[in-house]
Amino acid sequence: MSTIVASTVKANDILESTEGGATFFLIRAWINWQNAGTALLIDSGGVSSGTDTGTGAWQTNFSTAFSNALYASAGMNGENGSTYNNAAIAYNTGAGGNGTTTTYRRCSAENADGGYTDYNNNNVIFCGYQ
């Protein structure tokens, strides 16, 4: 087993294991977004801005474009003392590039009943070739 010690890893680097040849991929961007009240970009990485696009909906704009629009994302949301135990984040695959491109992805947060909901915290990570 080897250890990598580095203060900075460039965005276009791919870390490769020396054992077994397995390739590790890095999270390229992440966002902690508040859609409740006045929309707020609480914190982020690899993100130039967030856009409040409506009730329970927002768009994450990336600092650096992905090389294609097939990158993956995963997210969670919630609130302090939340009763929204079955909340979910979805994204718009955007037929025709309306909802997801290499430079942004539109997401929405829904409650257990399937209604778009403005949560205090919407956390999403993005992974793909960049």
Binding site: D52, G54, T55
Partner: protein
């Protein structure tokens, strides 16, 4: 932390609610420290992707490697003021039709965060007031 927000309508989707763009503080810091490539780097990528969308081949679209790498390799444009960084962000993250074409009314407005309503009742009915 920037106090500015950009409210805008997408000329191609005027039925959608007015949107509110929130800049990333981390990105603004990078911009003001002079770490951004020329805006044309992003425009070239956006143009190629829009062409792929228009031609119905977005699902298999990959950025041209040379244009793509310019995000990392193009000479940096130098430090920007907060106002210049915001202008750059508008030209990067807003639909180009918002700011590059003339309309019968302004399609975006730079405001302070205090000017954005906190009451999200009827959020999907928000309109940009002239």
């Amino acid at each position: 932390m920037t106090d500015y927000r950009v409210i805008f309508d997408d000329p191609d989707s005027l039925d959608e609610p007015t949107k509110v763009l929130v800049p990333s503080d981390r990105w603004m810091k990078e911009a003001m420290e002079g770490n951004l490539p020329p805006i044309t780097v992003f425009w070239d990528l956006q143009d190629d992707e829009q062409k792929a969308i228009a031609e119905g081949r977005h699902d298999k679209f990959e950025h041209d490697p040379e244009k793509y790498m310019k995000q990392f390799t193009a000479p940096r444009i130098g430090p920007l003021t907060e106002e210049e960084a915001l202008e750059y962000l508008i030209m990067k993250d807003l639909p180009r039709k918002c700011w590059a074409e003339q309309h019968n009314r302004p399609m975006f407005k730079i405001v302070t965060k205090d000017q954005v309503p906190t009451d999200r009742t009827f959020r999907n009915a928000w309109e940009l007031v002239q």
